[in-house]
Amino acid sequence: MSWMSGFSIAELGHYALVLALALSLIQSTVPLWGASARDNRLMRVGTVSTLIGFLYVTFAFGALTVAYINSDFSVANVWENSHSAKPLLFKISGVWGNHEGSMMLWVLILSLFGALVAAFGGNLPVTLKARVLAVQGWVATAFLLFILTTSNPFLRLTPAPGEGRDLNPILQDVGLAIHPPLLYLGYVGFSIVFSFAAAALIEGRVDAAWARWVRPWTLMAWIFLTLGIAMGSYWAYYELGWGGWWFWDPVENASFMPWLAGTALLHSAIVMEKRGALKIWTILLAILTFSLSLLGTFLVRSGVLTSVHAFATDPTRGVFILAILVLFIGGSLALFAWRAPELKQGGLFAPISREGALLYNNLFLVAATATVFAGTLYPLVLEALTKDKISVGAPFYNITFAPLMVPLLLAVPFGPMLAWKRGDLAAAAQRLLFAMVLAVVALVATLIIEGVQHPLAPLGIGLGIWLIAGAANEIIDRSGIGRMPLKTSWARFTGMPRTAFATALAHAGLGVTVIGIVATTTYQTETIVSVKPGESLETGGYTLTYQDSVPHTENNYREELYRFVVSRDGEALLAIAPAKRFYSTRQMSTTEAAIKTFWFSQLYVSIGDQHDDGSLTVRAYYKPLVTFIWLGAVLMAIGGTVSLSDRRFRIGVAKPARAKRLQEAKA
């Protein structure tokens, strides 16, 4: 009786969501009470309610997923966004390809992080853990209320329609299956860092240990956000058919701002952990990072970007999220203003020192975040106030964001070379000689090969090499390779903490991304021409010969494949077939670009209009080193993962010590 199970599953999901709300109310209050009364049983209620709440949210999410898999069109959300002929993967990814479903994913990840702390936070002081879970519970309560009152995905339709309206074809892609979950694991993951900050403020005590507990969570969220943003960029690049990989679109900025602030947080937490300094600043950054995640959620989910006008006419959702935003940002900043002055400051340091370098990093990252913030919100504010419509695009960010990045990137290799407390800049520069020489060589080589018509590009390439070589330089220098006998340097190499390799990997990744961005933006070639069968076009040294076009039909779309042969120096290399797809349910067509990777560069071909005489408009790009953009991000994420594996940060690291003490006590 699939109809019966279809009938009940959505209601069960809805019911589970209501129960999750009830549990989150318990989670929000009881452990707080327990922490102030020092009552272990009450505090344990927080752990249990968090874990069970997570199970209920997971069940609700599962129920919605089942409705999608079964194509249960009596559920309005499924009818609006799915189709029975869609492949299974896209039925599942369609769950979060719409407003209601993506809010469900949001809450699922929020409660996942709460549950992780509840399950693995055994090494935290009990009162801190209880308060962290309570704050996490507040956020969960707010968003569960939001879903249940304004965005319920379980609403029914009677009579049930026979067929669904299908998912927007642009979203029917593996990219959608991976990108939003990664992105949400990142920016919703910062909620736990926020909860830690608020809990510490309530507790009135912040120390180096706090930084050590928070760092793995920050790292985890940051790794996912880095991958999520990179994935989104690559998805837009291949799916939208015109080879752009970053648009400074408000939706992108919504996830980029928490990334910038989260990167700053990652660095300031190091200072706090090692030297006990920058406590207040780190707490503030933790609050700001998640506040920017909330702002991003507001921008994307309130409809304010789609139309300021629509926001004004149907403001329920927007106003609700705005209220959440004001409540949490305002509340946490008020808590900060009230409690932060009581926190003891520690750790003096000279301006030229490791601490100073990390602070310099923070300063520029925060300033850069501010420029993105201004560019994203100014058009909205202006339109609301004056009805003038403007767009802020790449030219704005080239003038504001880019100049702030240059001094930051130049300084990156110096950071790890400086000693704590008081560093020696001249000595650091001397040790970085190898990297400097390589950077200058790269600069000159680019100038010689590519000429002087783009004077900034060789500087950019040099900067990228400076970052990569600087990272390698640090490892070589610390292990003494070349200065010491091989055996000694090998011992030093293997003895280095993993965080040293993590730093080097992440910084080198940044350099790789910079090179990719500079090379693609400056040296790509673009060819737009009309060709008839048998005719050729040329781009980046490759010749593309148009053969013919063949139709092809799938379950929910039909497409025309345009076949080309790619050759170089008269030698045929391979065949490609960019396509035009037509999705009949939504009456929408999409362009499927053909992309071929040669080493790290790509040939990118997409199809325009077909004319009556059989000729075809083709847009072909050669994008040198374009894959570096995303490979660099992957390197950064690997760096983060290596850092996460460092012994210092392993969750539960305090346990063996405690067990040992217990044993000693028994003996």
Binding site: L348, P351, L359, T371, A374, T400, I528, M588, D609, T617
Partner: protein, 150 residues
């Protein structure tokens, strides 16, 4: 340096970076932003040739003419005014006569518009939001259009 001096130099440094960020933003907002106009607004405001703008409206029925070399001529209208547009490149998948579109480029001295990009990104109603807003404000927004895709 004493603790106080250090703190002062830190605040001065931070202030300097933030002030320059602010200066850059102010300069860029003055210079690098692009205003959006509907054809009627364009006629009213008398935009100087050469200034960069975004022009949005419906693609006029029967106006699209594609040349072999990839050049496309069409007109953008909000039914009150019509602006002829020249564009070279590949049009977005959803470009059609009668559809909403946003073109970015410069006005020519002869009153035509030279577009260097035609917007390919659409919201879930497949209508650039500026166009939807300006159609709504002129009462041209068809209600069924809105509900059909909700």
């Amino acid at each position: 340096m004493t603790r106080k001096q250090r703190r002062l130099s830190l605040i001065a440094g931070a202030g300097l970076v933030l002030a320059s960020a602010l200066g850059l933003v102010a300069y860029a907002l003055n210079d690098q932003i692009v205003f959006f106009y509907a054809p009627s607004e364009l006629a009213e405001k008398n935009i100087a040739p050469g200034s960069r703008i975004r022009l949005g409206g419906l693609v006029a029925e029967g106006s699209v003419k594609r040349e072999k070399d990839g050049e496309v001529f069409f007109s953008i209208t909000d039914t009150a005014q019509v602006v002829p547009v020249m564009y070279r490149g590949i049009l977005p998948d959803l470009f059609r006569e009668g559809q909403g579109v946003v073109a970015e480029g410069r006005m020519e001295p002869d009153g035509s518009f030279h577009a260097d990009s035609v917007l390919a990104k659409h919201d879930e109603n497949y209508m650039p939001r500026e166009v939807a807003d300006s159609l709504k404000s002129q009462g041209l927004w068809k209600h069924n259009q809105e509900t059909a895709t909700q």
